[in-house]
Symmetry: C2
DNA sequence: TCCAATAAACTAATTTAATTAGTATTATAA
DNA sequence: TTATAATACTAATTAAATTAGTTTATTGGA
């Protein structure tokens, strides 16, 4: 039988596609194997199992997001950079809802690789905040504020939990205004 | 064989306990049945299956949270009420991480019952905002801002995604300060 | 009180997914 | 060219969800 030419990268990419199309929770090794025209056990030559697959998908997402956010911060500074970076997070999370779902469970796989994938991202945000005349200590807290809002907002959008006809784009814009106005009250504090 | 005296309520409560103790994703009908000293098929006399169980757990959570938040809003007003209500959300979500996890997937079961469970909650928040001299339109957006932040923050706390030793309690406090300061810039607007 | 109907539990069987064991075949590199 | 390693396979196992069909307890009239 002809070799399928599988490798880890191919498998993760296909899983990412399936996650975005059908939903993260609906990925099974059977479905994945079918999409790749192999039998489920063949996948075990490249991944350790479904937990490993999910972990790889999580890492894949954070690495892609890091790339995208870093690009968004090029040639902008201050609050403009902050806004650009937030917006790129939102775009990635909503355009890749399946992968984003895998990323949410970040915690469960806590390890060096995961830390490495998010470390660059953190230092990017950190660099932006540090140009805003905000104390290091408040920086740490504000990063959590923004991260919470962004993950929460994207999650709710992806889950179509915002029921009424109010514009989601406008809500995002106003939310950023609120956060930024609030952040400004911390300039020079401490 | 003696009847176990099962009913839907008993099953949901036990599932809620298990979700908080072992994690929402780890609930199986086998585990649940064992905890209730029955065989898995017996559960089907009261619930339609595992999807139905998860949906019921989601509703159970939103009803409990509604109750708790309403209590938190008694005898306070304005931004104090807003803060009290946010804090009670946070407490519930972190003290009931398993149930909160079920609540997150709210969307997937969108129906009248789910809407009814969150409707009261929405109108509570709405009433609070409407005392703050904020336009109806901005109200709609700000509710999304707060909701996103609160769900995101609780999710991250529950998943132990805030790695560093910075105080989580302090981050929550500062986040609320940021949101409230930002919200104040919308007073009288529009 | 008795009995029919209903509800609640059961056992047994089915389906589907994840995983493991063991085998065969292809590619590669000495 | 041949040994080795990698890759895919089939077959079997385990575990969970679910369905079918049966039994037994409860309960509300006659």
């Amino acid at each position: 039988m002809a070799r399928a030419g599988l490798d880890k990268e191919t498998i993760i990419r296909k899983a990412a596609d399936l996650a975005n199309e059908a939903g993260f929770e609906r990925i099974t090794l059977k479905l994945l194997a079918d999409s790749l025209n192999v039998q489920p056990p063949s996948l075990y030559n490249h991944i350790k199992g479904i937990d490993d697959l999910q972990r790889e998908l999580m890492l894949y997402g954070w690495r892609q997001l890091d790339e995208k956010m870093t690009q968004a911060a090029v040639c902008v500074s201050g609050y403009d950079a902050l806004e650009a970076v937030c917006r790129s997070f939102y775009e990635y999370a909503t355009e890749n809802s399946g992968i984003f779902n895998a990323m949410l469970w970040y915690n469960k796989f806590q390890n060096d690789e995961a830390d490495k994938a998010t470390e660059k991202l953190f230092s990017l945000i950190y660099r932006i905040f540090s140009t805003l005349n905000i104390s290091k200590e408040n920086c740490d807290h504000l990063i959590r504020t923004y991260r919470s809002f962004l993950e929460g907002f994207a999650l709710l959008v992806n889950n179509r939990a915002f029921g009424n006809p109010v514009s989601i784009e406008e809500s995002f814009q106003i939310s950023l205004q609120v956060l930024i106005a609030g952040t400004k009250t911390f300039e020079g504090k401490d």
